[in-house]
Symmetry: C2
Subunit: 143 residues, 2 copies
Amino acid sequence: MKKVKKETQLDKTPKYTVKEVAQIMKISAHTVRYYDNEGLIPFVSRTQSNVRMFSEYDLSWIRTVHCLRATNLSINDIKKYIDLCLKGNKTIQQRAKIIFNQEKNLKEHLKQLQEQMKVLQIKKKYYTNLLKNKSKDVWNPYK
Amino acid sequence: MKKVKKETQLDKTPKYTVKEVAQIMKISAHTVRYYDNEGLIPFVSRTQSNVRMFSEYDLSWIRTVHCLRATNLSINDIKKYIDLCLKGNKTIQQRAKIIFNQEKNLKEHLKQLQEQMKVLQIKKKYYTNLLKNKSKDVWNPYK
DNA sequence: TCTTGACATTAGAGCGGCTCGAAGGTGTAA
DNA sequence: TTACACCTTCGAGCCGCTCTAATGTCAAGA
């Protein structure tokens, strides 16, 4: 028996205000509006009095934007990715390339941060010793 | 027999131009000058014709700045740290606090990046499958 | 000696990604 | 009906570079 993965259907009914989205995503309401203005969140609906209302579907776009931003993809490149998504199947290769590349970048970035962590921990050890021994510090490369 | 750690003496003789420092530290020459102008590299000497010349001692300051910057401490806070260093022993506690705090921040940041890495890898898997099966993509939260 | 070229200097503009504030609109609750 | 809590847009401000323009220095080659 073949298993068929059920397509995840995302609710498109408007539910959340900008402030609520901000709380859910842990970013500022200003930033949410900024992303919307930059076209990174397609199809955001508005009430009759022009207030943005976000659905679960919108949230899933924001999650994508947030992930790409957190891993340091520029707003411009995120915009390109989103636009490719909207163009459908014929852009799968291009989108895949962006994601693969982004994973590579993040890997490199993580490696560098981990190196800096080592440096920081040497400094930490230096100060811990200094405090413990109540000794004077001298110039050394670990300061 | 008591072991006494020998104090590391850093050479203060001018050796490197801004460009050479940039190459060594893998940052732009512009940035090196910017750090100098902001007072993050104390005591940088100049030739008679006003050209910056950096010693090993200067390099060690730059390494500190670079580490703190790479772990996202603001220029302003780095300046404060450097100034505390220059004030000597009475500031050990304050400096230690900055370093300990910075290590905590970096730890948190690393944690978040690793979470985003997971998200990226889900996306990667999604596209890898799509490409392998030459199937069509549907809207799903992993896009 | 003069020119060329590779470097350096400064001041200041530009940019990305927010971040904030002002000025105004809307909708509910006292 | 007034207060308030939210929303809107627009534009300025900020940080940390990043780049450009205008100018200076200096060594090598014609």
